[in-house]
């Protein structure tokens, strides 16, 4: 029974596919998977938007949306209808083809990542050997879409936003990759299913998740920082910076195209949280050995939504960074620390089992963190900015 419930979606898909002739079965299975993913994540998007608006409201001691339906739960539907019925304006001077394509590319590129994410035991659309590589290749193409949007709008705010976005995304792509490389080094595989199954083991009741190792914890922190920047979330939401550049690269988008950008941003958040879950939080494995009877997909999606909650919490807490702070933080703090983390991961691999590697690895990372933190705090780029020619 437990086994059945765990595999319910796989069995359902097999049962549906069984009605078709043998030659079509494989293709039909993939189509079903794609349809499920394409329907499921927009639904989660609606839920996440509601959670975000309610949660942020509560953090600021407001009610949040509470007019549409009981406790405002129908707000996402109202938002959807609103954006569908709004006028879709394309600026006269815009490059209309690129302007039209950009939101589509954002959404498509964001969805592509889900192809390789294992969302439960045996629940992966394409079990690719180089899944992680594929994921990052797809994730990087959202940058192209953002720049397409900013450039084709022919608007100074759009272009500034796009420039910021590209600079930021490329800068944070490096520590993002490097922090994931540590996982690949330990697991010895780029396949995401292998990475999950490597973590799906228990010592006593505790799981072998990578976040519970020194290098994994540091790697997870670096990964979390980089993902926040990658998805343009607060405090790294400079590309959108409402107070400075209107809305950044989607200033010139209205109606449903704007909604697509919004959707793309959230879908990217889901997929990158899903990847973080897979890499560091044990993917679909249960947090305690006695909880393994709960279906694997429940664990995956709870971890995913928990990450989204953390994103929202961070957004409610932190003010926006300045561009120079953002860049300094990426290149002078996150990048060196993830390089050190690579070294530590290698040490962890070769020090063998035993308490020594725990002590050594933790000590190296802690010293590096404290030392670099002090260095950062001392350097002048965290203080108020001084202007050489103004004043």
């Amino acid at each position: 029974m437990v086994e059945k419930l765990d595999q319910i979606f796989v069995l359902l898909s097999h049962w549906l596919v069984g009605f078709l002739p043998a030659g079509l079965q494989q293709a039909a299975g993939i189509v079903i998977g794609v349809v499920v993913i394409v329907c499921l994540y927009p639904a989660l998007f609606a839920l996440a938007v509601l959670m975000e608006r309610k949660g942020l409201g509560r953090m600021q001691n407001r009610y949040g949306p509470n007019r549409v339906g009981p406790y405002g739960i129908l707000q996402p539907i109202a938002d959807g209808i609103k954006s569908l019925t709004k006028e879709d304006i394309v600026p006269l001077s815009a490059d209309s083809a690129v302007h039209f394509l950009a939101p589509i590319v954002v959404v498509v590129a964001s969805f592509m990542g889900f192809a390789v994410l294992p969302m439960g035991r045996n629940m992966v659309l394409v079990d690719m050997d180089a899944g992680l590589l594929f994921y990052f290749a797809m994730g990087a193409s959202t940058e192209l879409a953002v720049f397409m949007a900013g450039w084709s709008s022919r608007n100074k705010y759009s272009l500034l936003g796009a420039m910021r976005a590209v600079a930021q995304m490329i800068s944070y792509e490096v520590p993002l990759l490097l922090s994931s490389v540590a996982v690949v080094m330990i697991t010895g595989s780029l396949s995401l299913t292998k990475i999950v199954s490597a973590q799906n083991a228990y010592t006593g009741i505790f799981p072998h998740w990578y976040i519970f190792t020194p290098w994994g914890f540091a790697g997870f922190l670096m990964y979390a920082i980089s993902t926040t920047a990658e998805t343009n979330r607060s405090p790294f939401d400079l590309p959108e910076g409402e107070s400075e550049i209107v809305a950044g690269y989607h200033t010139e988008y209205s109606g449903f195209k704007f909604a697509l950008f919004f959707l793309g941003e959230y879908v990217a958040m889901f997929s990158i949280s899903g990847l973080g879950t897979t890499l560091f939080l044990g993917g679909w494995s249960a947090p305690f050995s006695f909880l393994t009877w709960i279906p694997s997909w429940i664990w995956f999606f709870s971890k995913l939504m928990l990450s989204i909650c953390v994103f929202i919490w961070l957004r409610g807490t932190l003010p926006r960074l300045r561009q120079d702070q953002l860049m300094n933080f990426a290149w002078k703090f996150v990048l060196p620390l993830s390089l050190i983390n690579l070294l530590v991961a290698a040490l962890w691999r070769f020090l063998g089992e035993g308490w020594q590697r725990w002590v050594f690895c933790s000590a190296i990372l802690l010293i590096a963190y404290v030392f670099m933190g002090l260095q950062e705090a001392r350097s002048d780029h965290f203080g108020p900015r001084s202007y050489r020619y103004a004043e």
């Binding site: 509560r58 919490w313 807490t317 933190g373 002090l374 950062e376 705090a377």
Partner: protein
């Protein structure tokens, strides 16, 4: 240490999040259409015309002197003075506004009309739910729409209205006293004249 501030901030927002569910004092939002805060006494938005008594048409204090129309900076008041006179609330023959329109889409709520009115006929209202589907006709208020009773004025600006009433009463009393004095003087004069005319023949006799 680096990151300490972030943790403190996260704790603060978490405290706010939980606190907003626990304590009602944190949620200061007034959910407007259902809940309302009473406006403060000095609230003002657009002018209205005060009338005394029950009948708005008969009781309008306005005598169509047109000072407010001339003083209005954005020129949102339009007055047409009557040709005839009719008795006002105290029974005195006065001109009256045959038309009195205020375009509240033009009005800037400066209250200058109120300050210049020598008859305390125009005052500021507090009614703010004035949205309408017709942005031209719907926002051009005529005489009848502008007329509000003195009781209403007392309701929205109690202190100010009592002051106005006291002043008006004093003015009326003074006017009455003056009229009475004048009448007495006239009567005395008449009496004196009568007396002297009565005395003349007597004097002639003397």
């Amino acid at each position: 240490m680096l990151g300490e501030g972030i943790l403190k901030g996260l704790a603060e927002t978490a405290r706010n999040f939980v606190g907003s569910y626990v304590s009602k004092e944190r949620l200061t939002t007034v959910e407007y259409p259902e809940q309302r805060i009473a406006p403060i006494e000095a609230t003002r938005d657009f002018p209205f015309l005060v009338y005394d008594g029950k009948d708005w048409d008969a009781g309008l204090r306005c005598v169509a002197c047109q000072i407010c129309e001339k003083e209005c900076p954005p020129k949102c008041i339009f007055i047409e003075k009557s040709k005839d006179k009719k008795p006002d609330a105290v029974g005195k023959q006065q001109f009256y506004p045959a038309r009195f329109d205020i375009d509240i889409s033009v009005c800037m709520s400066c209250q200058i009309c109120v300050e210049v009115c020598p008859f305390d006929a125009i005052k500021m209202n507090t009614e703010f739910e004035l949205s309408t589907t017709d942005r031209f006709g719907g926002l051009l208020l005529d005489r009848q729409q502008l007329a509000k009773s003195n009781e209403y004025y007392h309701e929205i600006h109690p202190t100010e209205a009592s002051g106005v009433d006291a002043r008006l009463a004093a003015e009326r009393a003074a006017a009455e006293a003056k009229a009475k004095a004048a009448a007495e003087a006239a009567a005395a004069k008449a009496a004196a004249a009568a007396a002297s005319s009565a005395a003349k023949p007597a004097g002639g006799e003397a």
